[in-house]
Amino acid sequence: MLPNFRRVRLSALAIAATCSFVAGLGAQRGGGPPGAGDTALVEGTGAISGVVTDGSTGQPLAGAVVTLVGGGRGSVLTTRMATDEKGRFIFTKLSPAENYSLTAVKFGFFDGRNRARVALADGQWFTDAKITLWRFGAISGVVTDETNEPVVGAFVRVLVQVMVAGTPQLSAGPVTRTDDRGVYRIAGLAPGRYIVSVPSVQWSVPADTDEYALQGLRREAVASMEAAGYSLPKREDRTTSPDGKNLLFLGHYVTPPPAGSRAMAYPPSFHPAARSPKDASVVELKNGEERNTVDLQLRPVPVVRVSGTIDAPPEAGVAGMTLRLLPAGAEGLGNGSEVATALVAQDGTFTFLSVPSGDYTIIANRQQMEFQTRNRTVSMDDALPNAPGALGGGAGGGGVPSASAGTTYSYRGSDGNRSYAGKLAIAVGARDLTDVVVPLKRLVTLTARLVYEFELPASPAPGRGGGLPVYAEPADGSAALGMPTGRTSPTEPTFLIEGLQPGQYTIRFVSLRAGRIKTITWDGKDYTNRPLDASTGRDITDVVVTVTDKTTRVNGYAREQNQMATHGSVIFFPAEPDQWTNYGFSPRRILSSPIGTNGAFSATTLPPGNYLAIAVDESLATAWQDPKFLAAAASLATRITVEWGDAKTVDLTVMQVPGFKGGGD
């Protein structure tokens, strides 16, 4: 990708904001009656109506698109309609069902994972479905340099403090650029804690690096485009190092001229004028809040050279590998958060040409992962340019259920041997660092057997490749460990996951062919509810995952002030406090289950064990992500023991948890 190629992404719902456009779609449906929906699968005589309101003002919201999901008798019905000027919506001709769920979207608002749940009796008109949307917040400010002149075209990005696996982590938020007045504005922000930064990446490459690699393009791709009449413009923003061996590409804005003989650069900066995320001022946004003077001042600092060699066996193939230099404590951030990157030369040497003083980690890994937090309604942000050498290798990602709404993990690889990786902590002072040796080690491979305790359904047609995806999730939520991924063998009940860095991992399956994990054992020990440790560097072999088709079930009703509760959540969590953290991205033993309008709740995915259960207000539905909440809730919760084949019933009362009012405001 060319460095200045601007990507603008827009999700499908962005335009649903304009009523006329939505109306146009509605009209295409042949003028059916409102609420007629997509399907007449099971037409009943019930109805659900209600109002969408602005959580900050309590006012009704017009033009919100409400989606109804659910339905009876085994069919699922989806219907959408826009609210009128009074914020009202109504869905008719509904069959009775326990599990109707309503969500609403409107541009500039977020749903905070709130939804209305309705249990509808035959012929009932449920009139009281309330959906609350919250206005997004925004952060804006001015970026100036050391003489208070506005900096034009600087990238500005917010980092979000999120909880993953009960541990605070940094997640990459939206990116924008300053205008001709140095002004930036980042909108679409949910309530939360933000750090505002101006990234600045210095890219160093060996002088013989070809133009294609510099621009992150493949030779073949360029050849075909040139055949079609396009030409590849050369990058003009390069400087040759004094010894002629390296080229330097500087950050994202003009760098100051040298002060005397000392080269100078603008390092990555954090509001208001910090050099690392840990020294930054955190901007705490409430619902719909606007913060308008979140300014940054950039100050040039002297820089030095950091050079050395990679120590790795020949099969690691280190030439052309991208080394990333990240501030200590920010190793979990991905492309664009580096202080500098360097391409490894053919002889295994590397040079970072322009490094400000500070504590850093050099990361040598052909895979990188980071958390990203974007709002789901619209994303109009810029993308940070790719460092040279970021080629091929694939990319992907997925949701992180144990983090704030909108948080995903995103990984990308680059071509070459990905079985070797290394990292090294360095302290950079006022002098050049030479002879730095970065050792690369072969990463750990995990092999395992699946033992099914039930007869498998007929397997899919042979020869279609595949198997089921299986993930090794960093148990402590540390993005720097990546997301090693494997697949079960299509022919044997085994799986293999390569690329585990030193650290602890939990195993996650997307599906186990109608079964679920019963036990995980390794080396004679039980790992069902604790992570596997790859820190010794030895391969993890002969793990046995036993899969059962047995189920568990917990049912009940929640009461609130001597009446049935009509909304809220029941949170189930382990009775053992050591399991409130370190569970990966998707805890198997923590569950937040919604309370229906008839007060009913149920849990069908809890593995056996001792649990605590507490019914809370809907605003606390995701409060379990913070282990401090679980600690506060434990003494108020009801103890439940779950066993395979159980169908337990438990009735709960909605509780207030001291110190936790909920995410409303």
């Binding site: 649903a16 409102p34 309609m81 009202r88 003009e236």
Partner: protein
């Protein structure tokens, strides 16, 4: 589009400029000068990028200091062109009468030092505004195209990148040449999966007025149950 797009001026520039050792004997010429604004009383422009063009000048550039001064050293003998650029400013060649016009080449001999060149770098204009729908509601994420409609044939039309309105419906296009512009709001067509029903106010009122919702088909058989009383309050 991707392959022909030019590197943005914001993309970057250079620091210490020292030629490879093998060329040091002959690459001894020097060109220095100042970059100033186009104001009646010209002011120095700091952090401007001066790029050299011509044989032996590939990739050579310098950044102006706080007094607008720059120096390109270690040059071979030859004829060079120069441009000054800076984000939100109008890239102008040395000796050109206006931005986008051809400039004048500078000739240096081996070891020659030329000082006190003056490059003029005007600041670009900006157009800002708000996009609203008929009801006066600001429209976010609308693509705005600023099109010059008086562009003389001789100069390249300033094809600005589209800008998007922000969450308040506001946009700002900057770095524009002086001239007459049209501003176009380009609607985005985005596919939406499935249909969204948008009842009119009267349809909605009718639905809520009924004692209970009725289907238009003949399935009105179980009308014996009454709708909850609260339905009437809607």
């Amino acid at each position: 589009m991707l392959m022909t797009s030019r590197l943005g001026v914001a993309a970057l520039s250079a620091i210490v400029l020292i030629a490879p050792a093998s060329a040091r004997q002959t690459n001894t010429a020097r060109i220095a000068g100042t970059v100033v604004t186009s104001d009646a009383t010209p002011q120095p422009v700091r952090r401007a990028i001066v790029r050299l063009g011509g044989q032996g000048a590939e990739g050579r550039s310098a950044v102006t200091d706080d007094q607008g001064r720059f120096a390109l050293t270690g040059l071979p003998a030859g004829r060079f062109t120069m441009t000054a650029s800076k984000p939100a400013h109008l890239t102008t060649a040395y000796g050109a009468s206006a931005p986008g016009r051809p400039g004048t080449a500078v000739t240096v001999a081996v070891g020659q030092s030329i000082a006190n060149l003056r490059l003029v770098l005007p600041r670009g204009a900006a157009i800002a505004g708000t996009i609203r729908d008929r009801a006066g509601t600001p429209l976010p994420a609308v693509s705005i195209r600023v099109i010059r409609i008086d562009a003389p044939r001789s100069s390249a039309p300033p094809a600005t990148n589209d800008v998007l309105t922000d969450d308040r419906g506001m946009f700002r296009a900057f770095g524009l040449l002086p001239g007459t512009y049209a501003v176009a709001a380009v609607p985005r067509l985005v596919s939406v999966t499935g249909a969204v029903a948008v009842p009119s106010a009267s349809e909605m009122d009718a639905l809520f007025r009924r004692p209970r919702p009725r289907s238009i088909s003949s399935t009105r058989t179980s009308t014996s149950r009454r709708a909850p009383a609260s339905a009437m309050s809607c």
